[in-house]
Each structure stands twice: as structure tokens, then as C-alpha cells.
């Protein structure tokens, strides 16, 4: 299979969706001739024209609402937020409108809109361009929230999101855009709501999201040399949560760690911890649950401080080591 970068895989998915369905169009800030702030849309404007690759004014709230309205009127919009932080400007349309219209209207319509948003830290962009806000959106019934960690899933989850009759938010990790991996040339779908076991192990279940999947895999390799065998689950979808895969794994390994970049308190790992505590897997636990999340602080600018604010492979390894060896 040929390799593509995560960004190229998304671009290919966008192109294939637009080729397959004339209703599909993309909109966002600087996605036309500029090619997107992270280069994701590239030359799509040349291939599909400015009517289907639409540069919007810097109007996040209005842009989100336009996407909702177009979806209600029979088009299939994909809106790129330049940074996921800017979704805070569009919360009204995402949370009050897109998420609720189907339910409030008695199930008589749906809102097939896709929101794409680059998220995460590690680029030196400081507090307003580095957040991981995905848990906010995963809290809202009516939204589906996905976070691909590989190029193949970046394309596959995008295509599933476009097919989906309801609003889907895709959080793409900025540090993954250049990562390469095998990507099928065919428009293969990655199912929404299904986690992937990236590494089989018997001592501890590590549930991770986005770039934390890769850092957890790196930590798992370090620990393998010490005789600790980690199972790493790539959550992929935050809402709806694939509870079955996590429960089965925890029953096998008897330990759970959640690794995520969003602020630890009330984050996705908090939900997974509670879900396991409420499940049949609780009785299998041989150790307290461990959450490794972002610090309770905005993302700092200085590179050393920035690194320290979110889990890294070495801090993940340290946490898992203590968890498995029972020395808290």
C-alpha cells in the first residue's frame, strides 16, 4: 500500500467525497488558494472551483450557521475551523443548533454537517491556538466526536463523517499532519464509534486519543524492555464511546490508564474511568485507575513548559510503571 501523510489522507478523502457527491462542498478560512493554514485543502480549489472550496470571512459563528443551514437545505457542507480553539466563537451554532435540531424537531429532519478542527499543543502557538477541547463537545448529545490518530483513519473517519446524517466533529491533531502511514487508495470507511487495539498486552489497558496513542505506544516499548506488557487502545471516537472494547480489555489486563491531552479534570479519561467503575470490569481491577491528562493550566509558550503541560512518552511510562508495580 502507498503511504500518505495524515494531511494528504484528509485531502484525498475530501476530494473523493466531492467527486462522488455533488452536494458535498468545503468551506473555511483560507482554505482556497492559500490551501489551508495546515495545508490540508492544498490545491482542491483548482480541482473543484471556488464554488465548492469556499473561503469564508473570519466569521466562525456565521460560518458554522451557514453550514447548518446549507445542510438543512440539502447540501453536505464540511466546515474547517482554522484552529479548534476558534470553535469557542461558534459554540451557539454547534451546541444549540446543529446538535439539537433533529431532536427538537421531533426527528423529522437531520443536520448532515461535518466540522473539522486542528487541535492540540506542541507547535509553540501558546494558549489560544493549542487547546484540546474535544471533551466539551463530547458532552453534548446530538454531536458525534472523532479523533483520528493515523493517516488511514483520518481519511476513513472523514468519509464516515460525510456519510453520516448527523453532525460530526473531527479533531485532527496538528502534530500528526506530517505523519506518514499506509492509506488505501479506495474510499474505505473507518466506522464511527469503534476503537482500535493498537498493541496487545496483558498487564495494563492504556486508552489513548490522537497523538497520545503514539506516545503511549512509545511508552509501551520502553516498558516492554522492563517486562511490563501494555495493551494500547486508540479510542478514535469520543462520542459514541466504544465501551465494549475497553471493558473487554480491562477485564483481561485488570488495570486501566487513560492518556489524553485535554485538561485532566472532567476530561475524556474521567468519563472512561467512571464508565469502567460502573461496569462489570470494576470487579476485575487490581489497581486504582490512572488518568494522565493535560495540566490544569493554559498551554504555555516556552517549549519546555509546553512539553511539561501534557503527557509525554517518558511521563506516560513513569505513570504506567507505578501503576503496574503498585507503588503509588
Amino acid at each position: 500500500m502507498r503511504e500518505l501523510s495524515y494531511a494528504q489522507a484528509i485531502q484525498e478523502g475530501l476530494a473523493q467525497a466531492m467527486e462522488a457527491d455533488p452536494r458535498v462542498f468545503i468551506m473555511g478560512e483560507d482554505i482556497g488558494v492559500y490551501g489551508g493554514a495546515f495545508g490540508v485543502t492544498g490545491d482542491l480549489v483548482e480541482r473543484f472551483g471556488a464554488d465548492r472550496v469556499i473561503d469564508t470571512p473570519i466569521s466562525e459563528l456565521g460560518g458554522a450557521g451557514v453550514a447548518v443551514g446549507a445542510a438543512l437545505a440539502g447540501s453536505r457542507p464540511i466546515l474547517e475551523f482554522q484552529f479548534s480553539d476558534f470553535m469557542t466563537l461558534a459554540m451557539e451554532q454547534i451546541v444549540n443548533q446543529a446538535a439539537k435540531i433533529r431532536f427538537m424537531f421531533g426527528g423529522k429532519t437531520s443536520v448532515p454537517v461535518v466540522f473539522r478542527a486542528p487541535s492540540g499543543s506542541g507547535t509553540g502557538a501558546a494558549g489560544q491556538h493549542s487547546q484540546s477541547l474535544e471533551a466539551w463537545f463530547a458532552h453534548v448529545p446530538g454531536l458525534k466526536v472523532v479523533q483520528p490518530s493515523t493517516p488511514a483513519d483520518a481519511k476513513g473517519l472523514l468519509l464516515s463523517a460525510i456519510d453520516d446524517p448527523d453532525p460530526v466533529i473531527i479533531f485532527e491533531h496538528k502534530l500528526l499532519y506530517k505523519m506518514k502511514g499506509d492509506v488505501p487508495e479506495t474510499p474505505d470507511r473507518t466506522p464511527i464509534g469503534k476503537a482500535a487495539v493498537r498493541r496487545l498486552g496483558k498487564d495494563v489497558t492504556v486508552v489513548a486519543t490522537a497523538i497520545m496513542v503514539h506516545r503511549s505506544l512509545e511508552a509501551a516499548e520502553l516498558l516492554a524492555a522492563e517486562g511490563i506488557d501494555c495493551e494500547v487502545i486508540d479510542l478514535r471516537t469520543l462520542r459514541p464511546l466504544d465501551t465494549a472494547t475497553i471493558i473487554e480489555s480491562v477485564k483481561k489486563t485488570t488495570r486501566l490508564a487513560c492518556v489524553y491531552e485535554g485538561v485532566k479534570t472532567l476530561g475524556i479519561g474521567t468519563e472512561i474511568s467512571a464508565m469502567i467503575a460502573e461496569s462489570e470490569a470494576f470487579d476485575y481491577l487490581d489497581a486504582p485507575i490512572l488518568r494522565l491528562g493535560g495540566m490544569e493550566t493554559p498551554i504555555p509558550y516556552n517549549p519546555q513548559l509546553e512539553k511539561s503541560a501534557v503527557p509525554q512518552a517518558d511521563t506516560i511510562a513513569e505513570g504506567l510503571r507505578k501503576l503496574v508495580r503498585g507503588s503509588f
Binding site: F25, D51, T56, P57, S59, L61, G62, G63, A64, G65, V66, A67, V68, G69, A70, A71, L72, A73, G74, S75, P77, E92, Q93, N96, Q97, I101, R102, F103, M104, F105, G106, G107, K108, T109, S110, P141, G142, K144, D164, P165, D166
Partner: protein
Amino acid sequence: MAKVTGGAGKNVRPFYGKYSKDALREALRRMQIIRKFEEGAEDLYVRGLSYGTMHLSVGQEASAVGATMMLRNSDYITSTHRGHGHCIGKGAEAKYMFAEFLGKEEGYCRGRGGSMHIADMATGNLGANGIVGGGLPIATGAAMAIKQQKRDDVAVCFFGDGANNEGAFHESLNMAAVWKLPVIFVCENNQYGMSVSAERSTAVKDIATRAAAYNMPGVVVDGNSIADVAEAMDEAIARAKRGEGPSLVECKTYRTKGHSRSDRNRYRTKEEIEEWKLRDPIPAFASELLTHGILSEAEVAEVDVETTREIADAIVFAQNGTDPTHIDIASEVHTPLAGAAA
């Protein structure tokens, strides 16, 4: 269009020449239905027979009907929290609206939305909205879809004076103008955003002047005159269909009832309310129809009787409706996917 026969001379304004007798009678009928729907809703509330909140549009019937009477089902509207009139104007039936108001399965939203969220895709009603300004970008997006799909339709966006200070208003008007979208922004300026007057909240006297900032026509009309509203709408719709883009129509009007159930009217005077009641748009329209010989006294009276009966029947229909029995509401949040287990 059928020309008016009878008393319509050459000094009669275009509205009465453009629309057929049937269309004008239907407009009067819808205005009466709106008024009586609102009165019926208030009565149900006063008698303790309804549950949630409501926002009545008594006094604003001319803008609701004047801005919708020329629309087809394939045209769209977005509405507001004070949206009963817009829904009826766009073709909603009172009985399904009352059913929604009473939370019944027969309601437009099966009792899941209530008064503030009445929507009806079949008539192009993309929904009333509980968020001030919420419908502005949605109407803009619907107009974008119309343009993309090369359809001969328009989107009409109702909003109030309160919404004109929301960012969504400014973002939407700008985008609609930049992209020359077929959307008409209809501001029903009823003078108060809940309790704060437009004078105290808005830096310009006429909201229509804000259109200049977005390079689109902005006109002020007497919102209590259906002819004024409809003529402005006809011009705006023609412009939209020529591909020249959006317009802003400001209808100066007044709600003679309070903001919602909790309103004690402490922010305005009885005199002001009484003064506006004298400018009631329904008798004014009926009187013009009589003057121009379009309807007879008997025909106007017939509309009155007919609408009173329809509203009474609609309330009975709603009261006999089905209370939702489906308690697995979590399964209604998402659209069932093909091939998924039921």
C-alpha cells in the same frame, strides 16, 4: 397575476393589483388565524391547561403574513422565539401547532420542541429558534444551498430588533452580501428586546440603515401594513432572484402582549400599548379590502367566523392528542443508520 375587479382604480397601490382576490382573502384568513391562535394559546395558559412558555405576536400579524404570502413550499423561512405567526404565514396548520404547544405526538415536533421550536420541513419552515439571532446564519446557509443547487427559491429570515445587536446578525449579512445569496432579512422591530427598548440598545434609529454597512438595500416599512410589507418583500425577492443578493426589510411594529408569561409590563406605559392597539393591522387590512371592493362585508365576516371555528376545532384536536409514550428518548437523538440494529 389576476387583476382586481370592482373598486380598484388606478390610484390603488400595487399590492392590491398584484394579488388575486383569493390570495388576499387567504392573507386576511392567515392573519386572523395567527391572532386567534395567540389568543387561544394565552387562554390555555391562563386556565392552567398548557405547560411551557410562549411568546405571543399579537399586533405583528401583518409582517408575518406580508413577508410570507408570496412564498412557495420550496422557499425557506427561519423564525424566532416569537414565531407562531411566521409558521402560520408559511402554511403551518393551527391544529398541529396547538398539538405541539400542548406537547402532543401530533404536534409538528411530536412534543419535543414546544412553542419555541416549531418547524415543518414540508412547508420550508426551517424552524423557530430559542436563541436570539440563531436563525440568521441558518437562513444564510439555506440560501447558499439554494444557489449551489441552482434553484429558483429564496430564504426569508425573520429576526427582531433584539437580534440586530448579536454578532450573528453582522456576520450573516456580510456573508450573504459577499456571496450575493438569495436571502431576505426581515427585521420585525417591535421596539423592545424583552424589556429594553431599541432606542436604549441600538445605536441607530432605523435598523435598516445597517444594511448600508453590508452593501445591500435596506428599507423601513410600516410593519402594521401588510401591503407595505408585501411590496417591499416583492422587490427584495425579485432582486434576490435576479442574482443581485440579499436585502434588509425593517418592519416597524409592536407586540401588544408582554414578552412572555413572566412579563409585568414595567418598562412601557399603558398609553403606549393602547396607542398601538389603535393601529391593529387586521382591521386596517380588512378595511382596505372593503374600500377597494375586493371583499364584501359578508366575506370579511365569513373569514372571521371560519377562523374562529378553525381555532376552536384545533384546540380540541390538540387536547385530544396523544401524550408521548415513547420514553426511550435517547434513541431519538441521532438518525437511525441504514443497516444498524433497530
